[in-house]
Symmetry: C2
Subunit: 595 residues, 2 copies
C-alpha cells in the first residue's frame, strides 16, 4: 500500500550538508531562516502532509471533483484540509511578510512543496496556482491591486488562477482570441472569451477566485505582441475586504482526466467580465513568463514529489512481499519465501528510483537556492549570475524531473507486480498524476526548445557559462582526488559530451534551426543527467567525510547510490549524444503523407 | 481523437514481402492459407475491429464492468459485439478444424490479434483467455475432455480462464494453497481455494466459463513439483452439450484497475467445486507453461496493438492541430499556424512510435511464423530449430514489445499535449491499458530472468544459436552490399555488443547468479533492439527493390524509418551494454535497511 513519511533526513542532507543553504540568512529578508527555524518548518510541514494531505490522496482520486450547475465541489475532506493548511500559514509560506506571508526562502519552500506533491499532488494545485497569481500581481500590479489581492492570496482565503490556454491555442499563445473592451469606469475592461484547462478555475475551497487572464486590447497588434494581462475576480472585491457582486465569469464544465482528479480543471467562460490591466498594455507575455518560470520550477518539483512517494511505496512493498528465493540461496529460510528486495532486478528498480529521486532533490534544491540569490542578493554581480543560472536551469528542472517522475512512478508500479495495477494500492495513481507534469506549463518538448533556442545562445552563451565554468573548475579540482577516482573521470567524460553536443547545436542551429529542434529533447536530458552526476559526486564528497560517525549507514548508502547512478543511469548520455549528433535530416526528409 | 484503421498495407509488407509467410501453406493443416485467403481474412478482421470493437473502446473504459450479487456485467454493447465476433468465427480462428475452428496459421492469427488489441484490448481479453484454456485442454486433456470443451471454446459459446495467482503468490506459484480432494465419483476432485486476478473469471458474454485451475492433490510434494491442473466449469456440462447445475465456483469481487476496465478481473472462490485433472498429477506447471508461452506471445502482441493505435491517433492529431510555425518559416502561410507535424520534436516522437510499431510487428510476425513451423513442420530438424527459436524469443517479444507499448502510448499522449491527458480524446486510455501488459503473464523482470536463466544456457546455448547463426550469416552477406552500407556496419557492431554481453552473462552468471539477475532486464532490451535492427535492415533490402514502382512513397518511408531507428533508437544499446557490464556488485552491496 502507498505510504508516505516526509524524507526529513535526506532533505537536511541536501539543504545543509550538500548545498550549505543555511547561508541564505545572509540575504535581506531571509535572516530568519536559521537552521533551527528551517528544521522546525520542515518537520511541521511533514506532519501536515503526512497526517492531513496524504490520507485524502486516494479518496480524492476516487471521488474526483464534481460539476453541477456551474458549481464545482472538491472531494470529501478537501475543504477541511484546506482550512487546516491555510490556518497553519502554509499558503503564504514563501510570500512577503508585508502582505502577511512568512517570507521563507525559495530553497525551503521547494522542499515543502515537494512534500505536498508527494502527499497529495491534486491538493497542492490549489495553493500552487494562487502562488502564480500572487507573483504576477506582486511584480506587475498597481499598489491598489497589491493591497486588494495580495493579503488575501497570501492568507489563502482567496485563491488564484492563470488563464492562458484557449481551445485552439496552448503552446502558441499568439493565437489568443479573448478580448478586452473598454468597461464602464476608467481603467475597467470587459473581458470576453473562453479559456480551457484552467486549474482551480472554480472550486469550493475559498471565498473568492482571482483569475489572471491573457486577452487582447482593442488596439492590440496581432500575435504574441498584442497580448495583455488582466486581473478578473470571481466576486468583486469591496473596500472592506469582503466580496461583492458576482463578476461575469463562470465555469462551463470540468475535464475528465487521466489523473490529478481532485484538482478541478475548468473551462472558464468570460462574458464581459470586469477586469483590470496588470502591467503595461500588450506586455502580458512578459508578466506571464514571470509566473511561468516560478510555475515551471514548481512543476519540476511535482515530478520530484511523485518520485519520492512512489519510491517509498515500492521499498515498503519490496520489504514486505515474500516471493521466490534469492538466486544465491534462501535469505529468510524461516519463511516460505524471501522478501522480493533480495532480487537483483528489484534492487535495480529501487536503486534507479532512489538515484533519480535524491538526484532530483539535489537539483531542484540547488536551483531554488540560486533563485533566492537571483531575487534578493545585494551584490549585482552575484545576483546576475544567479539569474542567469536559474534561467538556464529552469527548463531542465521542469522537463527532466517530470520525465523522471513518470519513469519512477512506472517503476513503482512494476515493483508491485499485479497489485501495482490495482487502484486501491495507490501506486498506479502516481503514474496517472505524474503524467500531466510532462505536459502543462509548456510541454517538455517546449522546455527543450526553450533551452536550446533561448537559453543556450542568450548573451553569447553567458547563461551556459554559469553552469559550465563551475563544473569545469570542480572537475579540475577532483581529478587528482584519489577518494573520487571512480567518479571524476566519468564525470569529465560526460561533461565533454555535453560540451560537444552544445557546440554542435550552437553551430548547426545557426544555419538550420531544425537542427536545434531535432536535438532539443535529447540534449535537455543529457544536460540534466550530467548536472545530476555532478551533484552526486559532490554528495559522495560529503558522505566520505562522515563514514566514521553515527550515521555511517546513511552516508554509505549515498555512495552506493552514486555508484549505481554512474554505472547504470549516467551511461544513457552515450545514446543521447549519438541521437543528437545524428542531426535533423532523417526526421525532416519524411514526407508528411508517409507518416 | 483516437482513430483506428487496420494497417493492412503494412501487414502485407511484413507477412508477404518481408517474411514470405505465404510459404506456410507447405505445412500440414495450413494448406488453405493462400495469399487470397490471408488477404481476405485480414481485410474482414479489419472491418470487424474498426466497426464493431473500436467504437466500444472508449465507452467500455468509461463504464467498466460492474459486479453485483456475484454477477459481472460487461459494458454496454459488449454482449452484442461478442455475438457478432463469435458468429464471424473469430474466436476459433486459429483452432483446429476438427473442433470447428478455422485452422489458420499463427502467423495470420497474430496479425488479427494485433488488430483486436488496437481496437479494443479489453474486449480481446475474453476470446484471448479462451484460447489459453483451449490450448491446455487440447494438449493435455483426455479425449472426453476434448470432446466436451473444445468445440464449445472454439465456437466461443463457452469461454475459458487461467486460474493461477493467489493472494500470497503470483510469480512464485510453488506457494499455491488451493487444494484438490477426492470427489464423489471416480476421477472427480473437489477444488477449494481463492484465486485472484482472474481475467474473464466471470462475465455475461457466454453461457459457460471453463476454469483451468492450479491446485494441490492430497499427496502433492511441496513447492512447484506438487501442482496439478484441473478443469472446473462454472456450470456442469451435460451429455447433450447444454449446461447443467451450477458448480461451486463464484466470483467474490472484481478489481478496480488502472486500465483494461472493460475486462473483468475477478477474485474467484472455489468451494469444493467439482473439477477433473488435466494431464498428469503434479505436472500442472508443465501444462501451465504451454498455455503461458502462447499467452506471452499474445501479450507482446497487445503491446504492439496499442502502439499501432496510439501511433495512428498521434499522426492524425499532428496533421490536424495547428500551432506555431515551422522553425524554418511558415509551411501553411494561408493559415494562422502550421500543423504541428512540421516541428522536428513532433516528428521525433512520431518516428519513434512508427519505428517501434513496425519493428515490433516484424518481430512478432517472425516469431509467429516460426511457431507454425514448431507446431506443424514435418521435418524434425526444421521443427526443432523453430521450437528452439520460439522458446528463445518468446520472453523478448513479451517483455520488449510491452515495454515499448507503454513508451509509445506515452509519446502518443505527449503529441496531443494537454488534450492527451483528457479522457475523451482516448490517448491516455492507451497508456493505462498498455501498462498491464508489462506485468501479467509474468512481469517483464520475470521474462528477462527466463531469458538469461533458462533460455541462454539451454542445451549449451542451442537456442541462442538459432538467432546468432542466421544473424551472423546475414551480416556477412550484406557487409559488401553498397546499398546497405549505412546499416551493415552499425548492425554488426551492435551484434558484437550483444554477443559480448551474452558471453559476460554466461560466464559470470555461472559463479554468481546475481550477475545474470542484475543484467537480465537490460540484456532483454538489448537483444530485442538488435533483433529489430536486423529486421529493419531486411525491410530496407525489400524496400530498395521497390523504389521505382507505384508505391515508391511507401517504400521510401520504410527506408527513412529504418534510418531513424538506426540513428536515434538503436544507440540505446551502448547504455544497456554499459549497464550490463557494470555487474551486480553495487546493487547487491546496498544494505536492505538503507533503501
Amino acid at each position: 500500500m502507498a505510504v508516505y513519511q516526509a524524507p526529513l533526513r535526506d532533505m537536511r542532507f541536501t539543504y545543509r550538508e550538500l548545498l550549505g543553504s543555511d547561508k541564505v540568512t545572509e540575504l535581506p529578508g531571509c535572516e530568519e531562516a536559521t537552521p533551527d527555524l528551517v528544521d522546525a518548518v520542515l518537520e511541521e510541514a511533514g506532519k501536515v502532509c503526512e497526517s492531513v494531505l496524504f490520507p485524502l490522496n486516494r479518496s480524492g482520486d476516487e471521488e474526483g471533483c464534481t460539476f453541477e450547475n456551474g458549481v464545482v465541489r472538491t472531494p470529501k475532506g478537501f475543504k477541511e484540509a484546506y482550512e487546516t493548511f491555510r490556518e497553519g500559514g502554509w499558503v503564504g509560506m514563501a510570500c512577503d511578510p508585508d502582505y502577511g506571508g512568512q517570507g521563507l526562502p525559495n530553497c525551503v519552500n521547494t522542499l515543502v512543496e515537494e512534500m505536498i506533491c508527494s502527499a497529495n499532488m491534486s491538493f497542492g494545485m490549489y495553493p500552487g496556482l494562487s502562488h502564480g497569481a500572487y507573483k504576477a500581481i506582486k511584480r506587475f500590479g498597481t499598489d491598489e491591486q497589491k493591497q486588494t489581492y495580495l493579503p488575501k492570496l497570501t492568507d489563502g482565503i482567496w485563491s488564484g488562477t492563470m488563464c492562458l490556454t484557449e481551445p485552439h491555442c496552448g503552446t502558441d499563445l499568439g493565437l489568443i482570441r479573448t478580448k478586452a473592451e473598454p468597461g464602464a469606469a476608467e481603467g475597467e475592461w470587459k473581458i470576453t472569451g473562453t479559456k480551457i484547462f484552467i486549474s482551480a478555475g472554480e472550486h469550493d475551497l475559498t471565498e473568492n477566485i482571482i483569475h489572471l487572464v491573457l486577452a487582447r486590447l482593442p488596439d492590440a497588434p496581432p500575435g504574441i505582441k498584442g497580448i495583455s494581462l488582466f486581473v478578473v475576480p470571481k466576486f468583486m472585491p469591496k473596500e472592506d475586504g469582503s466580496v461583492g457582486a458576482r463578476n461575469g465569469v463562470a465555469c462551463g464544465s470540468i475535464e475528465h482526466k487521466m489523473g490529478i482528479k481532485a484538482s478541478a480543471t475548468c473551462v472558464m467562460n468570460f462574458d464581459e467580465a470586469t477586469g483590470w490591466l496588470v502591467g503595461e498594455p500588450h506586455k502580458g507575455m512578459r508578466a506571464m513568463f514571470t509566473m511561468m518560470n516560478a510555475a515551471r520550477l514548481g512543476v519540476g518539483v511535482q515530478g520530484l514529489g511523485i518520485m519520492e512517494a512512489s519510491y517509498q511505496g515500492a521499498v515498503d512493498y519490496a520489504r514486505e512481499r515474500t516471493q521466490g528465493r534469492a538466486l544465491t540461496g534462501a535469505k529468510a529460510p524461516e519463511q516460505k519465501a524471501d522478501p522480493i528486495i533480495v532480487h537483483p532486478d528489484v534492487r535495480r528498480m529501487l536503486l534507479t528510483m532512489k538515484a533519480y529521486t535524491e538526484g532530483g532533490r539535489m537539483l531542484a534544491a540547488w536551483i531554488s537556492q540560486e533563485l533566492d540569490y537571483a531575487e534578493k542578493c545585494q551584490d549585482p554581480k552575484r545576483r546576475q549570475e544567479a539569474e542567469d543560472f536559474v534561467a538556464l536551469m529552469t527548463p531542465i528542472v521542469k522537463g527532466v524531473l517530470t520525465d523522471l517522475g513518470s519513469e519512477v512512478a512506472n517503476l513503482g508500479v512494476q515493483v508491485y507486480g499485479g497489485h501495482g495495477y490495482i487502484r486501491e494500492w495507490g501506486m498506479e495513481q502516481y503514474v496517472r498524476d505524474a503524467r500531466i507534469a510532462q505536459i502543462y506549463e509548456g510541454t517538455n518538448g517546449i522546455q527543450a526548445l526553450d533551452l536550446v533556442g533561448r537559453k543556450l545562445g542568450a548573451h553569447t552563451g553567458r547563461y551556459l557559462r554559469r553552469f559550465f565554468h563551475p563544473l569545469s573548475e570542480y572537475i579540475d579540482r577532483i581529478m587528482d582526488d584519489d577518494e573520487l577516482e571512480d567518479f571524476a573521470l566519468p564525470l569529465a567524460k560526460q561533461f565533454v559530451r555535453l560540451q560537444q553536443a552544445t557546440g554542435y547545436i550552437a553551430q548547426k542551429g545557426l544555419s538550420n534551426p531544425n537542427e536545434a529542434g531535432a536535438a532539443a529533447t535529447d540534449y535537455m536530458r543529457l544536460f540534466g543527467l550530467v548536472a545530476m552526476g555532478y551533484l552526486w559526486v559532490r554528495a559522495v564528497e560529503v558522505a566520505k567525510q562522515n563514514l566514521d560517525g553515527d550515521e555511517a549507514d546513511f552516508y554509505k548508502a549515498k555512495i552506493t547510490t552514486a555508484k549505481f547512478y554512474f554505472e547504470r543511469l549516467l551511461p544513457q548520455t552515450g545514446a543521447l549524444f549519438a541521437a543528437i549528433m545524428s542531426g535533423s535530416r532523417t526526421m525532416m526528409e519524411m514526407d508528411e503523407a508517409a507518416f
